[in-house]
Amino acid sequence: MKESNGVHTINQGLESGSKAGYSNKIFTLRPRLSPAEKGSRLFFLICAILAMGQMFLIMVFLFKEASGLFISKPGSPALSLVDFLGRNDWYPTYPDATFGALALVAGSISVALFSTFLATPVGLGLAAYLSCVASQRRRELFKPMVELLASVPSVILGLVGMAVLAPFLQQALNIPTGLNLFNASVILAIMAIPTIASLAEDALSAVPRDIQDASYALGATCWETIWRVILPSAMGGLATAVILGLGRALGETMVVLMVAGGAAQIPNSLFDSVRPLTATLAAEMGEAAIGGRHYQALFALGAVLFLTTLAFNLLAWHLSRRWRGAR
């Protein structure tokens, strides 16, 4: 709106200026940039290009290194994408090495989904509490605390998982190891809760005050207003929050490396050990010979991860844009 107004006045200025010969009027309407301003614009443009270029280069690099696995060469038969993602035989260091990554993919997906399942109600509940129930004072106290929680290094949460949660699970449930899918999901959920809560709180606060007032004025209680007005209007933002939380859980490495148990198997229960993609990459990259098939396979895993998180982020972006348009 504002921009189009601006353009409009500029055009008017140009027309009337050229008609009447007041050429100086044009300059008052569209000030000339000083060299310093021009310079800083150029600087920001370069920054933007660098950031984009870097992203692009990472992608090219990933795919280039990974591609060797899928192209047949003397001494290394090509692996099909279907075998890579669909077979469960990740034996990268055997003499007859096989690279079926299904168990790793299953590990990633199970941990990400279960942790999101745990974190979503808590994160959304916390957001609802912060934006609708808490007094001004409590909100001012809690919101920064939630955001602070997001900055706890994941390795510390991993330590908690190893030293506290794992022995507890092992004893309480009498299972062989406390380092498993459940443990990793709980710790990842703790990590994702601040992300989800903070983004969701933003989404809830962005719901126009006047429709909340309308709801109260019709005799709705606070909870009825949350359920019937605020939640539906904030749905896009909330979905975005959850998806970004999911993306975060998918990409998180340190926690799963420490507490997921590391067994490359398709889990049958919540208390099986798993080995997500990220943990595999971090654990095995140091040992893989550069340029070898194992190395290529790990890059292929990286590419899968990259594309998945990219897809999630695009989806989140798309959702938040679409809902904003609908409002």
């Binding site: 004025a217 019709l218 005799g219 409002r327």
Partner: protein, 251 residues
């Protein structure tokens, strides 16, 4: 026989934190009549209006002294339930604020809250409320369209219908036509004039107050300066401040 007043405010003072927005207001609002609140910007009209259905409860640090009696009960008494009060005392806001839902769901919002579920009952409520707000003919074929697809005037009438769906005893309107064009304004005014409700309307438009209201209250800097039958207030105000305001000398 004299009807009891719809609303009586007794020595009402109201504070936003340290700031006193209303000073010792005493006002009896007649039943089934239209009462206009006028006064310069910031004098406390909206504040007073929102006190009547407890919409100021949400303002942190707000305080009130005095009583507001509606239907024989002190709205701020220990027994009073704000939810109950807001159902009896409907409100229409300055800016049309329909929910981002269909027209039908907008109207049904209040009734659904009180537990009306049956489709046939809801259909009836919707038709009645929309007819009452003079909107039925405009929208009867597009009840399932989003209320956002209507014009501003139609949206405001959806908001009126939405409030009417709860069959309130009293309707509060805060500058309900300030966002509307003359034609839509005329429609809303027409509706107000023929309705049989007790209506309290805030307006900056003195012609509007003169056209539609029975009684007019003039507020100035948090005080109620003068309250009289509309004709009297506009033709022979007692207070010089009222006269200055209505003749446009300040405000």
């Amino acid at each position: 026989m004299v009807k009891p007043p719809a609303i009586s405010a007794r020595s009402v003072s109201f504070y936003y934190g340290e700031f006193q927005a209303l000073r010792d207001i005493n006002l009896e609002i007649a039943k089934d009549e239209i009462t206009a609140l006028i006064g310069p910007s910031g004098c406390g009209k909206s504040t007073f209006l929102k006190l009547l259905n407890r919409m100021n409860d949400f303002v942190p640090g707000a305080r009130l002294s005095g009583e507001i009696i509606i239907g024989g009960v002190n709205v701020y008494g220990p027994q009073a339930d704000p939810v109950e009060i807001r159902r009896k005392v409907g409100m229409v806001f300055q800016k049309p604020n329909p929910f981002p839902k269909s027209i039908y769901d907008n109207i049904c919002y209040g009734p659904r809250l009180v537990g009306v579920k049956k489709k046939s009952a809801l259909d009836e409520v919707v038709e009645k409320a929309l007819k009452a707000a003079a909107l039925w003919d405009d929208v009867k074929d597009k009840l399932n369209k989003s209320a956002f697809e209507l014009s501003g005037g139609q949206q405001q009438r959806v908001c009126i219908a939405r409030a009417l769906a709860l069959e309130p005893d009293i309707l509060l309107m805060d500058e309900p036509t300030s966002a509307l064009d003359p034609i839509a304004t005329a429609k809303v005014e027409e509706w107000i004039k023929q309705s049989k409700l007790s209506i309290v309307i805030v307006t900056h438009n003195m012609q509007q107050a003169a056209r539609i209201s029975h009684g007019t209250a003039f507020f100035y800097m948090g005080e109620l300066i003068e309250f009289a039958p509309t004709l009297t207030l506009f033709t022979s105000p007692k207070e010089s401040r009222t006269e200055n305001y209505i003749t446009g000398r300040f405000g």
